[in-house]
């Protein structure tokens, strides 16, 4: 469900920000978590990191299942 007090302040005036905005151009961009163009390269690195992290987490669950087989 909903997120933050900060977000709640936004809901009465919530409107989409333009995709042409750069990160940090306004408080709404910062609070809504949208990315600007300047961050795109850094974000690509994060994408790889996130995908690897998701695979690792599911791997941990699978490992636990392997361990449970031996219980």
């Amino acid at each position: 469900m909903l997120g933050t007090r900060q977000d709640r302040r936004h809901r009465s005036t919530a409107q989409p920000c333009s995709s042409r905005h750069l990160i940090g151009c306004c408080s709404r961009c910062r609070s809504s978590g949208v990315a600007g163009h300047l961050e795109s390269e850094e974000n690509l690195v994060f994408d790889v990191f996130v995908v690897a992290g998701v695979l690792a987490l599911f791997g941990v669950v699978a490992l636990i299942a392997k361990g449970v087989e031996r219980l």
Binding site: R11, A14, P16, V50, V68
Partner: protein, 561 residues
């Protein structure tokens, strides 16, 4: 609070109970038939052919679990890709992609049936992501929870079997035969009540004061029905079910509450039918009902009895609550939302009294078993039933067996591990956030809005909500930081799938056993004594686990006031 308002609240609860009594039997029996049927519908056969599944093959618990994990992994990656590529998708409303940390948190959140939202939907996600990503996950994540409990029920019902059903068949049937048709009907009902359903861009209007205001619309009704029916809870709008476009009237509020409870309160009947003894289902249902009513009463009393100047001026503790719902319409909704794994809200928990807010937390800490989320509530309760039988066996010298299945060393270890997972994630997650240098500064400086006891409650609530896959938020916590996006996502993912490992392993273990006949040494598990024992075990396990941290947070705050 005048007597008329209280009676109106009681009438709402009575109407809700009546509706649930009327629906639990046909819905429970229907689900039992759906999961026991050997016949496949034509559409279903087409799906099995496309995904290359042998629909007539029953699976071991390991294969069943592999299906759960693979299906969910693909779901997380798909939703993540949609969120990141939003800028190039149609109906994106001109919005750019989410940041990686927020996209990770949100993708995990919707796939795990949590629906924790660290963003303002109307300012962050367009219609394609809402529909192809979030709405789809609302269906499939609910289905995954249901099929896992059905696998466990099959384990109880089976005799010397190495299999517990077919994950793909169970999932497809749940979505196609139950969730889709019901959600379609209730979406129409909600549209009739004023919930919006359109594809318009946000509309700019001029206010009476001479300013301008942008009003977001969108396909909300189609998402609202499954949001409640699948106990998902993710709002189409940031204000969730407090928003008039999601929940416009008192009667739509009641419909949404009913939707949250319909499946969880019907599943015990399904369980009773499938194990061949409906009384067993009713014993479980009784425990769920008792805990639900006690929790509702406690939260309502805390909110009705709130003191303070503002409360007296307003006539009631209405801060953060919608006038069209009133106090009891709000506490009924939020109790329902937190005893199930929904997490939707129609009022702001952060504005509740400390003890009222603590009840919401306790509902989740109980493991969301009263009646719990779609599927997850019943399997949580069945695990507690196994533990109760074991403890009762130790106390009075009864044979530890439940529904004819012996509870040996392996079974009790699996049940104990299940119980430990969520508290570990909640308490370690909260503690780590406040201890690790760097993280602590970020959490205290950026995330926690209110310092002191209330601030601890906000953080504790966040991890409780995430690890229990509830998704409701206290509201005073800024969750959109790299740490909380990541830590809460990990808590959600492990809080969803690690318990499922133990549940499915337990299902496999029970399925492999033959049934032992009941003897004079068997503890009857359909009698009031067992209901009392199971209720006590649920409360005591929660109290022992969480009392210290509750004493530092909401209890301390409530007692100081």
């Amino acid at each position: 609070m005048d007597a008329g308002t209280v009676w109106a609240g009681i009438a709402q609860v009575a109407t809700l109970v009546l509706l649930l009594v009327l629906v639990h039997r046909p819905l429970g029996d229907g689900m039992a038939r759906m999961y026991s049927s050997l016949r496949h519908m034509r559409v279903e056969r087409g799906v099995y052919r496309v995904i290359g599944v042998d629909a007539d093959a029953s699976q071991s618990w390991q294969t069943y679990l592999r299906g759960v994990l693979l299906f969910s992994l693909v779901g997380v990656l798909f939703v993540y890709a949609l969120e990141r590529l939003q800028a190039v998708l149609p109906y994106g409303l001109g919005l750019p992609g989410m940041t990686p940390a927020l996209a990770f948190n949100t993708a995990v959140s919707f796939v795990t049936n949590t629906n924790w939202q660290n963003y303002s939907p109307e300012a962050t996600v367009g219609y394609t992501v809402q529909m192809a990503g979030y709405a789809v996950q609302n269906f499939v994540s609910a289905a995954v929870g249901m099929v896992v409990v059905i696998a466990l029920v099959r384990g109880f019902a089976a005799r010397r079997s190495g299999t517990i059903g077919n994950f793909w068949v169970d999932t497809v049937r749940t979505i196609w035969r139950l969730l889709l048709p019901a959600s379609f009907v209730f979406a129409i009902i909600l549209i009739a009540g004023g919930v919006v359903q359109n594809f318009l861009d946000p509309t700019t209007v001029h206010t009476l004061a001479g300013g301008t205001q942008t009003i977001a619309g969108g396909p909300a009704a189609s998402q609202e029905a499954i949001k409640e029916f699948g106990t998902n809870g993710g709002g189409f709008f940031n204000a969730n079910s407090a928003h008039p476009f999601e929940n416009p009237q008192a009667w739509t509020n009641l419909v949404e509450i009913f939707l949250m409870l319909a499946i969880p309160f019907s599943l015990p009947r399904t369980f009773g039918v499938m194990v061949g003894d409906k009384r067993q289902g009713y014993a479980i249902l009784a425990v769920m009902g008792i805990l639900f009513l006690v929790s509702l009463s406690a939260m309502s009393i805390a909110e009705l009895g709130a003191g303070g100047t503002a409360t007296h001026v307003a006539g009631a503790a209405m801060e953060g609550k919608e006038v069209r719902f009133g106090i009891l319409g709000s506490t009924l909704f939020n109790t329902t939302s937190t005893v199930t794994s929904t997490g939707a809200v129609n009022s702001m928990m952060d504005s509740y009294t400390p003890l009222g807010g603590m009840m919401a937390m306790l509902n989740m800490m109980l493991g969301e078993i009263a009646p719990g989320g779609t599927g997850s509530g019943l399997y949580g309760m069945l695990i507690l039933a196994v533990i109760t039988v074991f403890i009762a066996g130790l106390l009075v010298g009864r044979t530890p067996e439940y529904l004819g299945k012996r509870i040996g060393s392996r079974e009790i270890r699996l049940a104990a591990l299940y119980i430990l997972v969520t508290p570990t994630l909640v308490l370690v997650g909260t503690a780590v956030s406040l201890v690790i240098p760097g993280v602590r500064e970020q959490v205290l400086g950026t995330s926690i809005f209110n310092p002191g006891n209330h601030g601890l409650s906000e953080l504790l609530y966040a991890f409780t909500s995430a690890a229990n896959n509830n998704g409701s938020a206290f509201g005073g916590l800024t969750g959109n930081t790299t740490w909380l996006n990541s830590a809460l996502a990990v808590a959600m993912l492990l809080g969803r799938f690690v318990p499922m490992v133990f549940v499915l392993a337990l299902a496999g273990s029970f399925a492999a056993q033959d049934k032992v006949p009941a003897t004079s040494g068997t503890l009857p598990t359909h009698r009031p004594l067992f209901v009392v024992l199971l209720t006590g075990i649920a409360v005591i396990v929660t109290a022992l686990t969480y009392f210290p941290v509750l004493a530092l947070g909401p209890l301390a705050e409530g007692l100081v006031r």
